[in-house]
């Protein structure tokens, strides 16, 4: 009985243990294979179709990615819709040029300790997280662009 209580308590408290810190390596996530993106600046973007700011950010992110792709920048989008078909239908209507990973079970957002939707993790060429951007408004576009350019120059 006491053992089962201990297990329940451990389960309840262990959810707050996972966290992502600036300057640390990106956490491992079974849905995500980043081996082919070594020496690239990455923006790992968590999005869902039910999240209006996520959808608003996509044209901007796509344009930014296409503009800076030849300089070593790539976006990896992680869709967290529970129904992947809905996301695929959305992407058929509004395609993007960057790779999209589907994670309906939410393994990756748990590993990254996502605090808001959308969340963007800026990763430098060494694979370290340098900045986390929460939410999206059109006013944020300049800041996102500046951060990416800084990472490409190796300044951040």
């Amino acid at each position: 009985m006491i053992k089962s209580i201990q297990v329940v308590l451990l389960f309840l408290f262990c959810s707050s243990l996972s966290a992502v810190e600036i300057g640390k390596s990106i956490p491992s996530c079974n849905r995500l294979d980043l081996s082919e993106y070594k020496n690239k600046v990455l923006l790992i973007d968590f999005w869902a179709t039910w999240c209006p700011p996520c959808k608003q950010s996509m044209p901007f992110l796509n344009a930014l990615r296409n503009e800076l792709a030849d300089k070593g920048f790539e976006i990896i989008a992680i869709n967290v819709d529970e129904e992947t078909e809905v996301a695929q239908h959305f992407l058929n209507n509004y395609p993007v040029d960057y790779p999209v990973v589907f994670d309906p079970k939410g393994h990756c957002p748990l590993a990254y300790d996502v605090k808001a939707m959308p969340s963007s993790y800026f990763v430098d060429k060494k694979g370290k997280i340098r900045y986390v951007h929460l939410g999206f408004r059109h006013q944020d576009e300049l800041e996102i662009r500046t951060r990416v350019l800084e990472l490409l120059k190796g300044e951040l």
């Binding site: 209580i5 329940v8 309840l12 967290v80 819709d81 529970e82 939410g106 996502v114």
Partner: protein, 77 residues
């Protein structure tokens, strides 16, 4: 044997109390809010229909207000 039953009961009560208190740990993660974001989960799922019905109600009753709207029963909307 009785002492064992007593401890068992105490543990059960303690477990139930902790379960009630630790409900705050059962939060919905940001990426799990797909169902909460559905239109039917809104308090007012159809704002246009609600506004129309409210307007009809105001006109029929010759009164206005009581639902958070500004103004009185002047009928000047």
């Amino acid at each position: 044997m009785l002492w064992y039953v007593g401890i068992k009961r105490t543990c059960l009560v303690l477990f139930m109390l902790l379960s009630a208190v630790l409900q705050a740990g059962c939060s919905v993660a940001p990426w799990e809010r797909g169902n909460l974001a559905k239109t039917q989960m809104l308090i007012v799922p159809n704002p246009n229909r609600t506004a129309l019905r409210r307007h009809v109600f105001d006109s029929k009753e010759s009164s206005q207000g009581g639902m958070g709207a500004a103004g009185g029963g002047c009928g000047c909307n």
